[in-house]
Structure formats: C-alpha cells, structure tokens
Symmetry: C2
Subunit: 209 residues, 2 copies
C-alpha cells in the first residue's frame, strides 16, 4: 500500500508555520523579527530555538531595507549561498561566496588562519552596504570583527552571525553582539549552521510565507 501524505507544498508550509506559532515563545520579537525566527525554527525543526535568537535594535528592518535597495549577500560557505531562494530576493541581489576562490588556500597559509577566514578578505570590494550571512565558521565571524576594527574597512549594512559548533561559535557570536560594529543578529551558543542562516536571509528578503 503506498503511503499517503500531504503533497501540497503551500499546505505544508501553512501547517508548519501555524504549528510553530502555536508552540514557540515569540512574544518578545517585533513584527519585523518574528517571521525571521519562525522560519529559522522551521529550518531546524526545533521549537525552543527562539530562546537563543537575538537581534540588535532595528537589525531586521535595516536588513530588509538593504535587501530591497539591492544589497549583495555575502556568505561564508556554499551551503548558505546555494540555499538562498532566488525568487524571494527583492532586487535580484547578488549572492557571493568567495570560499572556493583559487587564491584562498595560499592566502590562508600566509595569514595563518582558516580558509573560511581568509576568504573574507576577498569580500572587501562588495562589503560596503552588504548583508553578511555567516552560517558555518566561527573563524570567519571573528576575522570579520577584526577587519571591522579598522575604520577604513567598508561597513556592511547588517550581519547575520550564526556559525555553529564547539570551538569559538558561542564566543564569536557573543563578541559580535558586544562589538556591534553594525546591526546584527545571532543564534547564541553552539547552535547555528547554514540552514538557519539561509532561513534568516530568506525571511528578511520577503514577507511571503
């Protein structure tokens, strides 16, 4: 007997989002923030994630505006850049991931840092006014913070900081919210990753659910 299941994509989304809104604690989020958190919970399949999500004041509306105005989206890994849903982008925004650039391994060696961190040096020409989405490497987020200590470094419009893991992830996200070089959003602690980072970008790009 073939399995029967919900086959309508729109119905699946609707029921999923309704379940999340019924179960999650979303009261503390603004109207601009709430759909971002809902989509992040959806991507991870985990109610409770909302406890760890923090926005600096106005980040969600600033990031939405930047995307509407055509900001490029700078991603640390291809799992983020590939996950972003192109038709949701308000201005056919450029999506950039420099990790596979052939110059990166040599740059990493010279810098004594990871490839993920070195790849950010290639962001400089597009960094001004961009939306940054870091969904994997704590070293990338730390390196970005160090780049932004230089007042001559171009400033992104907003940073989504959701690196994941057991070494430096929690610390790099705390450092982002403490430095706060530009409006930022994080998922505190070890939890993070490309899926919730992509979900945040997709939610900031469009109100469509």
């Amino acid at each position: 007997m073939p399995h029967t299941y919900e086959k309508n994509g729109a119905a699946i989304y609707k029921e999923s989002f309704a379940t999340i809104r019924r179960e999650a604690e979303l009261e503390r989020f603004t109207r601009d923030e709430e759909p971002v958190v809902v989509r992040m919970i959806h991507a991870l399949g985990m109610v409770g994630l909302e406890e760890h999500v923090q926005f600096s004041d106005g980040m969600a509306s600033i990031a939405r505006k930047a995307l509407e105005d055509g900001a490029p989206i700078l991603c640390d890994v291809r799992m983020v850049s590939e996950g972003i849903t192109r038709p949701r982008l308000p201005a056919d925004n450029q999506i950039i991931c420099t990790l596979q650039d052939p110059r990166v391994p040599e740059m990493a060696k010279e810098m004594g840092n990871t490839r993920s961190a070195a790849a950010l040096e290639l962001w400089r020409p597009q960094l001004d006014g961009a939306v940054v989405a870091i969904g994997n490497a704590p070293t990338a987020l730390f390196h970005l913070l160090n780049m932004l200590e230089d007042p001559n470094c171009p400033r992104p419009a907003a940073i989504i900081g959701c690196p994941v893991g057991f070494v430096g992830a929690a610390e790099s996200k705390d450092a982002l919210m403490q430095d706060l070089p530009v409006p930022s959003m994080i998922c505190k602690g070890r939890l993070g990753g490309s899926a919730i980072t992509v979900a945040a970008v997709n939610a900031l790009a469009s109100w469509k659910e």
Copy 2:
C-alpha cells in the same frame, strides 16, 4: 584590540570532536556508526542529537562499502549536494541532485506532488546501488518509499533519511524504518536537515577526522 581565537582548522576539529565524545552518549553505537553520529552532532552544534539517531543493522558498514565501490550519491536538495566534501569521497563518487532539472516543475504538476518528490523520478537511471541522502523534504522520502514498493524499481544500497520539519518529517522517517526497503539511517522526529545529512555522508565517505 583584535579578537584572539583558535585559527588552526585541524586543532578546531580535534577539540570539537573531543568535546562531543566527552559529552554525548555514544555507547550504543558500533564502531562504524559512532563517527557518523559524532559528525552529525558537530554539524548541528547539539549534544543530545544522538538520542534521535537510528541505524538499521549493518547500514553504516554497507553504506561505507558502497561508497568505496563507487556508488553515486543521490541528494534531494543542493544544500546537501553542495555540502559534501569532495576530497573525502573514496572513489570520486558522482553527486547528483535533480531538483533543478527543468522538467521537474511540469512533472510535479502532473504528479500532484512537490517538486522535491517529482525530482526523484529522475533518479531511476542512477538509483541501483546508490547511496541516497534526503536532508530536506519529507515528501521526497515518502515518494521514494512508494517508488520502492514496486519490485521493479532499482534498489539503492542505503538510505540516509533526515528530512526536517513539522509536517511529515517524523512520519516519513518512521515509515522508512518500518518498511526498511534497504539498509537505512534516520534522525527521528522533527530534527533533521541538510547539515546533519551532509555530515553523515562525509563521515561514511572517510574515516578521517
């Protein structure tokens, strides 16, 4: 003052995996399974994930052997196919994702199913002996189970079933372990996603940590 942090990729991996092995409950897993679960926990940044991971008997060794023998890897979404670390593959294995095939939207309409499910119909020529990695869509996993009810459908060597979410994810994974058309592994319940699916493939592809 610039932030100081661990910049050595190998040291980061080593410390991360040691932390996971110190904190997680890994005793019930075999030698073939344990590194898979460790890497999944690493990808999600969540000790406790191990409670939800189930392997059918021998799945991990069968999947490792299939990859060594050159099995193609069939993925439901590009966040999975893009995340697999090519240098870890033992036989330069082909990685296939058919979701963006231009025929898929029309096929989905005709089938009255999602694009994720329809895309699997294009797997048939490569399905025999393949390793399947489903990291997003419950409808894809359900459709695969229905395809495999036909005894004339080619059989994959093993299935990694980790779709995520609130509608059908838990049900599709339970159905996989109940039908068990071929050796399979799941992350029970709502938790799943491309990150842990990629982690499972990367761990089955190579013992290297």
